[in-house]
């Protein structure tokens, strides 16, 4: 009987035939903790009687949500985690590298066939490398730190088969917003979503990361793309690994197979206050906005910034809108800097911040006031997500965000 890529990963790790629905205590290749969920995970580790972390080399620690510390409480959380890292011999990337998910992938800490957990729901992004990766809570993380393993109910897989060529200014973010609108906010609960098909094979790693990142917005346990040439090319220099085949068998059992053709896909915008509300940008064109945010683990990569810069051309961002641009990591920042994008953005009127989560989590800076409207390339538009519960958040691609920042209202990037 054929197996899905997820079933194969668990079977490989455990050396026996494991199928969707099985509950298994699986060994972990990586565990990521950051400054928000980390302190609680460490507390739980100690409460469980933990003394030494099972495998300090498997722990990925960094701070990205509240950096540089924006309150004394945040500073205290950072101190607490630094002390833990020193005591346990864990390498701590501290405030230096950027958003946890981007950094984890960039540093080669998630790779094809591995099982990685992170104390953050968007951990599912590592599936872009062909890893099985899922977000967990702090108590589960405390357990993982202690035992180097965690129990999983192996998920069924929804197969999203994507074909067609994107129109200009349309891309991975528009696709995933359309898929989320189709599957719904809870349509993939307890399931993995495998992105496959000709369009995915041609998609770069940045786009694959955007897709997998948002699997959780449909309730998904994981998003995953089978490793191929693009993946192995990306892994070069990050990990010493020999490429191997890892793909769902043709006869594998899927919970569902969905087909998407992107040929006529228009730029999508998810309207307040849920992510599964994606509609063509034309339906909200002209909507008032106060702030535009281009960044986050979903869309803060060089490719995203380059797309925004391409839409910008020689124009300027509207003075009526606050345009905040945050590269997802130090590496992405440097690439943008070398390519002259940062200078271009600053000259056009944007505020460019150092790599971090920024306004996405609504706990640090870039918050919106009651009645204000934010348009963001991040992943959630829940009520209060970026500040006041009386504010509104719309989600879109970097191209749509740039076009809207130029026009001062929500705009179609194909027409700017």
């Amino acid at each position: 009987m054929g197996a899905t890529i997820v079933e194969k990963i668990f079977s490989r790790k455990c050396g026996s035939d494991i199928r969707a629905g099985d509950v298994v205590m699986a060994p972990l290749d990586g565990m990521m903790i950051h400054d928000i969920t980390g302190p609680l995970a460490i507390q739980k580790f100690y409460e469980m009687g933990g003394k030494k972390v099972c495998d300090p080399k498997a722990v990925i620690m960094l701070f990205d949500h509240q950096i540089p510390a924006d309150s004394i409480e945040a500073a205290n959380n950072h101190v607490y985690m630094r002390k833990f890292a020193a005591e346990q011999g864990i390498h701590n990337y501290d405030i230096n590298e950027g958003v946890c998910h981007q950094v984890t992938i960039e540093k080669g800490r998630a790779a094809p066939g591995e099982i990685v957990v992170g104390a953050d729901s968007h951990t599912c992004m590592y599936g872009a490398t062909g890893a099985f990766a899922t977000g967990i809570g702090s108590t589960d993380m405390g357990f993982a730190l202690k035992f180097g393993a965690l129990y999983f109910k192996v998920p069924e897989t929804i197969r999203a088969d994507v074909s067609g060529k994107f129109q200009k200014r349309v891309g991975a973010k528009d696709l995933i917003l359309a898929i989320a609108a189709d599957i719904g906010a809870d349509g993939a609960t307890y399931k993995a979503i495998e992105f496959t098909g000709k369009t995915i094979r041609k998609l770069d790693m940045a786009g694959r990361m955007t897709l997998c990142n948002m699997a959780i917005e449909m309730g998904g346990k994981a998003g995953i793309v089978a490793p191929d040439k693009v993946t192995w090319e990306y892994m070069k220099g990050r990990r010493k690994m020999k490429p191997f085949a890892l793909d769902s068998d043709p006869g594998a059992t899927f919970a569902e197979t969905k087909s998407y053709d992107v040929t006529d896909l228009e730029p999508q915008v998810a309207v307040p206050h849920n992510v599964d509300t994606g509609i063509p940008v034309g339906k909200v064109e002209g909507t008032h906005i106060d702030q535009v945010f281009i960044g986050s683990c979903t869309n803060g990569r060089f490719e995203d910034l380059a797309e925004a810069a391409s839409v910008l051309g020689k124009k300027r961002f509207s003075p009526k809108v606050r345009t905040i641009i945050i590269p997802a990591s130090r590496d992405e920042y440097l690439k943008a800097l070398s390519a002259g994008l940062i200078e271009k953005f600053v000259k056009a009127g944007a505020l460019v911040e150092a790599p971090c989560c920024g306004p996405c989590m609504g706990g640090a800076f870039g918050l919106i006031a009651p009645g204000e409207v934010s348009l963001a390339t991040s992943n959630r538009n829940f009520k209060g997500r970026q500040g006041s519960t009386d504010g509104k958040v719309y989600l879109c691609s970097p191209a749509t965000a740039a076009a809207s920042a130029i026009m001062g209202v929500i705009a179609d990037p194909r027409e700017v």
Partner: protein, 184 residues
């Protein structure tokens, strides 16, 4: 679950019968996300009592002031969607809530709840339960009673029962010296 047999039953999280004297329900709708349960700006707090002061802030402001020990949260579909922040179930724990009833739960919230000692109860008819209803659970027989009406509830997944019986994942983990991996 590999080592389940070796785990002594320490306590059951929720006893059957009335959840608490004068317990009431707090009714919410579909897709109640973790930002609604505890807004991002309060995640610098790690203490359940402190978190509880800000639970549902901006969504239902009277909740934090009026919630009492033993009260029950009732939600619709996809309760607890969004972030992996365990601060969400902890903010409920801090207010004395030990049970959340919903038509369905988001995966991470469900698991976090079990881990911190909140019982997530799946009740397909949860949308019919009214705000402020008096509620009693009968987990063993698979139903709950709200304002005298009976509603069926689904059993807790078998593999989670060991953790619930231990009183949460911390208590469960304390009983284990090492974890046998790769056992179904």
């Amino acid at each position: 679950m590999a080592a389940k047999k070796n785990v002594p039953v320490k306590k059951v999280v929720v006893a059957d019968g009335p959840v608490a004297k004068n317990a009431r329900t707090w009714k919410f709708g579909d897709n109640i996300d973790t930002d609604a349960i505890i807004p991002g700006r309060f995640l610098i707090l790690n203490n359940p009592d402190e978190l509880a002061k800000h639970a549902f802030e901006g969504t239902r402001d009277e909740y934090a002031k009026k919630v009492q020990e033993g009260d029950v949260i009732v939600g619709g579909r996809n309760f607890g969607c969004g972030s992996s922040r365990e601060h969400a179930p902890l903010a409920l724990v801090g207010g004395g809530v030990k049970v959340v009833v919903a038509q369905s739960f988001a995966r991470i919230f469900f698991r976090n709840s079990v881990n911190v000692g909140v019982l997530p109860v799946v009740c397909p008819d949860a949308d019919k339960i009214e705000d402020g209803a008096k509620i009693a659970l009968n987990v063993r027989d698979g139903y709950l009673e709200a304002d005298g009406k009976k509603y069926a509830i689904e059993p807790v997944p078998e593999f989670m029962q060991g953790i619930i019986d231990a009183g949460g994942l911390v208590e469960y983990a304390k009983t284990l010296k090492e974890m046998p991996v790769c056992t179904k």
